[in-house]
Symmetry: C2
Subunit: 427 residues, 2 copies
């Protein structure tokens, strides 16, 4: 790898001014859910100009909509096409998917932004705007890796499949549709913002809703009722206990630095209607982390058991069981072996480019990589520029240097993984 | 008293058919907040026909609206007049206020009613409809007591002041306005539904709102945030502890049968916006009971201290103090001495009519009697027909027998308290 590094770095430096303009242009497109088409068409045109075989399509159909892993608040996607561009190899090499999502979460409260949320402003080496980190910066790194190798006249043996998908923020319907359309590879890289850490394992997650019942009464004689708010405290304790039990089992060293490898977060509570009445119903909504290698159904069963245990300990819960629903978003966990060849190649490339051994950890959140591993037999590693601390927040930004370092790492990794058919100017 | 009882009972029996029709007519008027005028005008006409000096007025003015005890969600009352009718005594006797509210709470979910919520249907001796128990039945008992004594040709020495007020359900602005208009007496009876128990003491109460802060984070790394929902659990514990401390101090035997004499009820909880985010804000709303003889400000200070103590124990609360607001409804507590002459007279009347010693307890909720005691130097006893278990609920009803028993008790009490100037046909 070392012999290729300088040429790639030099080429990337030449492309940098235009590439920053390209990222700014992407960030200026507010590709929130249902409005991804303009940016996707731009990306499709660019991939075509690079000579890739481009596939832009609107996902639809029974197979998708009734798939057990289909999760989306909508069922029609007219203004949200998926885009895939294939850079065909000469044959005989390992193929690689570069998977990134183009949908961004809403800007939120615009008053908390110092500039327009879709400004793309560059200040002190940082490019600002919703989606800069999550994950247009990562997508650009992937595109630049291809473009740079092309500029140097390289031909790879294995195919490189660049995927610009929709719906990741809602649970992965875009990547699911790409899988159902037949796209798969020997491995995948997903350049979500890992701050250049390598995440071979990623947590899955799913949303749950609990209904906790009480019995109303006047607040002045509250002892005549049963407070659903007090009962919720017991349920929250049971959830905390379940979280402890589930995490005690996890001895994977990749999780050593995470205080809680697979958290259960209760994010919403709502109950009662009148200050001087005893609340007779409380709703809780939360996100349950799912361990790499764990089946979603297994995690669901553990939650059900924890609630059943409540009923065994408490007469009220026996007669008024907590109701459990699984709703909304869902991300499948994923895992790649520590000694998977792509892991070794990626680590070597990181060592070369960053000048240090990369941190290898387990991802505390899910990505579309889970679907690729689970459904497409395509082991996926999550690795990219940017830090999650700014994703989904006002004044989101990405460090441009990290984007170009990541592009360099991706180019080196592609050479090694896919195999070099023609060395061109990197020779 | 005994010598008057049979005549009064006989007279009441004669009036019963028309009186039931009258109560039905009152219940059929949906006198919810802002719509009390039609019923109040009817009542005013009736009082006038009985020869009382009638005062119907719309409350207003700076003194009322800026009074420290004024609590109402509104500031204009055009369709909600107060009505007072005075039956003047011949002089030399003790005066008595009969205070009842005409406003009723909304019918709520009509599907839970077996009949129209304002039907006034009579089935098996029970009259059904919103407000039947809370408290048109009690108001009718008070009116019937006057009417019966009049029918028997009695003249009393002291004045009897019949008050049909608005706004009790929102905190007592109607009674406050009557006090500011100058109405006061040597004592008062408030025929709220006590199930014919005598309540010489009544709990006050007031509403509070708490804001509990957290720090947001992604649910997958929830340990990077601080959950306002978990912090709320700590606040709920502190409130429970404060309730215990406050109730431990209460050794009044009138409270012996109440599990919690002055409860603190948290009736509403609401916080967090997204299942996979750590909640950064939770709102709690509740009702704090205030002991008879306790100042509202004293109870408020104890709540403030309990929250300050949280800050001493917990760094998060020190840096992010729980915010406390007092808002909405407020009822002043009240207390009449156990050996107050009206207590003795009322107990004797109960013994005669019910054939047993009445139960004397402390009220678990506030009434307008608190304002009469506190601001008008008019000791108030709460006593009336009907049970609170049906008040504010679907299919509210009142046992008609209890209404007529109460009227009998009131008539006997008035004779004794106000003094008899002319015995008429009860002689």
């Amino acid at each position: 790898m070392a012999r290729w590094r300088d040429k790639i770095r030099k080429q990337l430096a030449e492309e940098r001014p235009a590439a920053v303009e390209l990222l700014r242009d992407w960030v200026r497109e507010p590709s929130v859910q249902g409005a991804e088409r303009p940016l996707q068409e731009k990306i499709a045109r660019r991939l075509a100009a690079m000579g890739l075989k481009v596939d832009l399509w609107v996902m639809e159909g029974e197979e998708l909509l009734h798939h057990p892993y289909f999760v989306s608040p909508r069922t029609t996607f007219a203004d949200s096409p998926n885009v895939v561009g294939v850079w065909p190899g000469t044959g005989g090499g390992r193929s690689l998917i570069l998977n990134g999502h183009v949908d961004v979460v809403p800007a939120g409260d615009e008053r908390q932004w110092q500039e327009d949320p879709f400004s793309g402003s560059v200040v002190d080496g940082k490019l600002y705007g919703r989606g800069a980190t999550d994950m247009k910066g990562g997508n650009l790194a992937a595109l630049l890796a291809i473009q740079t190798l092309q500029a140097l006249g390289v031909r790879l043996k294995g195919d490189v499949i660049f995927q610009s998908v929709v719906e990741e923020e809602s649970g992965g319907a875009g990547t699911l549709a790409a899988i159902l359309r037949g796209y798969r590879a020997d491995a995948a890289l997903v350049p979500e913002p890992t701050n250049m850490k390598i995440f071979p394992k990623q947590q899955g997650s799913m949303w749950f809703r609990l209904w906790i019942k009480g019995r109303s009464a006047h607040g002045g004689t509250r002892y005549e009722g049963v407070s659903a708010i007090e009962k919720s405290m017991r349920v929250l304790q049971a959830i905390r206990q379940l979280e402890e039990e589930r995490n005690r089992r996890i001895d994977d060293p990749l999780y050593a630095k995470l205080p809680i490898p697979i958290p259960i977060n209760v994010g919403v509570i709502e109950g009662g209607k009148w200050p001087s009445s005893v609340a007779d119903l409380v709703k809780l909504e939360g996100r349950m982390g799912v361990a790499p290698g764990e089946e979603m159904e297994q995690a669901q069963a553990e939650m059900e058991q924890a609630l059943q245990k409540l009923a065994e300990e408490d007469d009220w819960f026996r007669e008024h069981p907590v109701e459990l629903e699984w709703f909304g978003a869902r991300w499948v966990p994923g895992a790649v072996a520590a000694d998977h060849p792509l892991m070794l190649i990626l680590q070597e490339a990181c060592q070369l480019v960053l000048g240090r051994a990369p941190v290898v950890e387990a991802a505390p959140w899910g990505t579309d990589g889970g679907l690729l591993s689970k459904l497409a037999d395509t082991p996926a590693i999550v690795f990219g520029p940017g830090v999650t601390q700014v994703a989904h927040y006002p004044n989101e930004f990405i460090e441009l240097d990290a984007v170009f370092q990541c592009a360099e790492i991706f180019a080196l990794t592609m050479l090694q993984w896919c195999g070099v058919a023609e060395e061109g100017a990197i020779a």
